[in-house]
Amino acid sequence: MMTDPAVAPPGQGPGLRGRRTPFVAYVGLAVVALGVAAAICYGTGVGGWVLMLVMGLVLFLAGVYAVVSRLEGRRAGRDRTWSVLIHCAFVLALVPLVSVVWTLISKGSERFDLNFFTTSLNNIGARDPDGGAVHAIIGTLEQVAIATVITVPLGILAAIYIVEYGRGRFATLIRFFVDVMTGIPSIVAGLFILSFWVLIVSPVYNNGQPSFSGFAAALALSVLMLPTIVRSTEEMLRLVPAPLREGSYALGVPKWKTILRVVIPTALPGIVTGIMLSIARAAGETAPVLLVAGGSAAVNINPFNNNQSSLSLYVFQQASDASRFAPARAWTAALTLVALVLILTVAAKLFARRNRISR
């Protein structure tokens, strides 16, 4: 494809990359495109500044294609047009994300006070401006803690099976279903625990009545956490260098002891990172808690009996509450939840950087 259309003007040969469109041309094009778009939009009254920007962008793209094609050739024109489009995609995506962060901070800080973190919604009516989320914070912490206690040993052992012991079809099948399980919708996990634990098991210890509980929510969260923990642990175990294992075998250490004393400690930082990320995800789940813990307004310390709330459920319920003080509470709870999740996520990522065997 030697069709370089940038025919060199006499006296100066084309550079290695041919002639370049000057930067001023782009600025000029942008100004002209916006001007024309503004004239159309406001002149005929079909739309406001958003339409003007969109129209301006389309005109700008057409202009870039036309001008660059003329100066540098059609291939360069296409290249530059796509380049503009890709940069636009990036900017476009920033708009809603910045908006989410901004409203979260500005509206969430309104009730970010001591009262919010020391009181519950007990005895808070529709006209009370106060009311806090301490019951929801307790619920989130208890449910996530129980789910972690259940899932971590199970997940690590399952990963050990897949990497160290599993052979043949059965191991492949488990790996496949671990991957598929990561995609189970959280509401389905909630329905599963509802029909299994709340409707069938809980009547056994609750005088024949089905009972919502924080523990049921923890079970549902476990279903969601298990596959992510197995996956991340599996990847970390695979990164442990084989010579470490072989050295241990050569000293006569049995395989199980090698795994527990050599392989796991080597992979530990990475495993912890994966666990923290899955905890962060579980803390934000709303639907399963709604279905099996039911939500409550007062503090309930006991996770094994009666309704419990959680931060995410609190956000959902306050958002759909009719009280005019509810949205402020919802935003503050959302800010608290995001802060919790992001601290966990950032800590996990920083922890991962210290890990010697990770990529």
């Binding site: 030697m2 079909v46 739309g47 290249d79 796509w82 380049s83 890709i86 995609a89 990036f90 995506a93 809603p96 989410v100 979260l104 052992l157 399952a158 050990i160 099976y161 160290e164 012991y165 599993g166 191991a171 488990i174 671990v178 598929v180 995609g183 189970i184 919708p185 959280s186 509401i187 389905v188 329905l191 509802l194 029909s195 409707l199 298990l226 442990v240 294992r245 072989e246 075998y249 049995p254 395989k255 199980w256 002891k257 090698t258 392989v263 995800r281 934000g284 709303t286 639907a287 709604l290 279905l291 995410s312 958002a319 759909s320 949205p327 935003w331 959302a334 995001v338 999740v341 990522k349």
Partner: protein, 316 residues
Amino acid sequence: MAGGFLPRRKGFGAERAFSTVTLLAGAMVLVIIVAITVFLIAKAIPALQADTANFITETDWFPNQEPPVFGIAAIAWGTLVTSVIALLVAVPVALGIALYLSHYANRRIADTFGFLIDLLAAVPSVVFGLWGFIVFIEPVRTFSVWLNKYFGWLPFFDGTGPFGRSFMLGGLVLAIMVLPIITALSREVFLQTPTADEEAALSLGATRWEMIRTAVLPYGRAGVIASVMLGLGRALGETIALALTLGFINEITVNVIQNGGNSIAANIANGFGEAGDIGRGALIASGLVLFAITLVVNAAARVIIYRRREFTESAA
């Protein structure tokens, strides 16, 4: 195969015990999947038997009245429409960002924003729902009115209002939520393109876009498809964001701007509070359908990823 080659001794107690324990833990995954299916079916059957309408074709959802009338047609339609809107909007933008981060931005910007995208994927869906419910609804309503004024002759933008709590709001909020997922995965795939391929294209005089089209995109195609399907799986199962943004009218319509719309997952979250015995069973039945759909979508995505892994590993 990490650490095979060990002499197998019979009656090696601790070894046998430990490997059995790990086997049981691994089998738990299969047990859970099977248990989900079994328990959901068991709880759904009584409700389905009580249903006086056809569960597949009925659009109404009144499982608590006597006799119960409910069907999944309208809510399944809503799940489909919101997911399609989400993907139509999110996929081009996500691929654009992924290409920007992998092949356009300088290293520091790419690292920073890659990190931010990972953080965004961790933001809980209820937060996006709250934002859509209170903040994002205003521009969407304005946009809906504008669409209705100038494109009202299209069936999608027909209607007399009120606008806002519609398929479009739900779909756009979903789009913002799946964006980080698709971006993160396809960026990984694009970054894995063999440098030799890219340099070969460039050395033949390709422009940057031609290099991307001839080297990066064909290499990443399977990975991109898989990431889109994972995003689809997430969109299909999303509950709370839609429970906060849809208008809850059960009908099969192509209109995306009128107040209304419902989805399987949002219907469960919103209908659960007042559901009786049959109502609960009906919701579980709809959850079973959702489970089956997401299982198929996710399994298909995984199969594509596995094929690709074999392909790239044999090439390397």
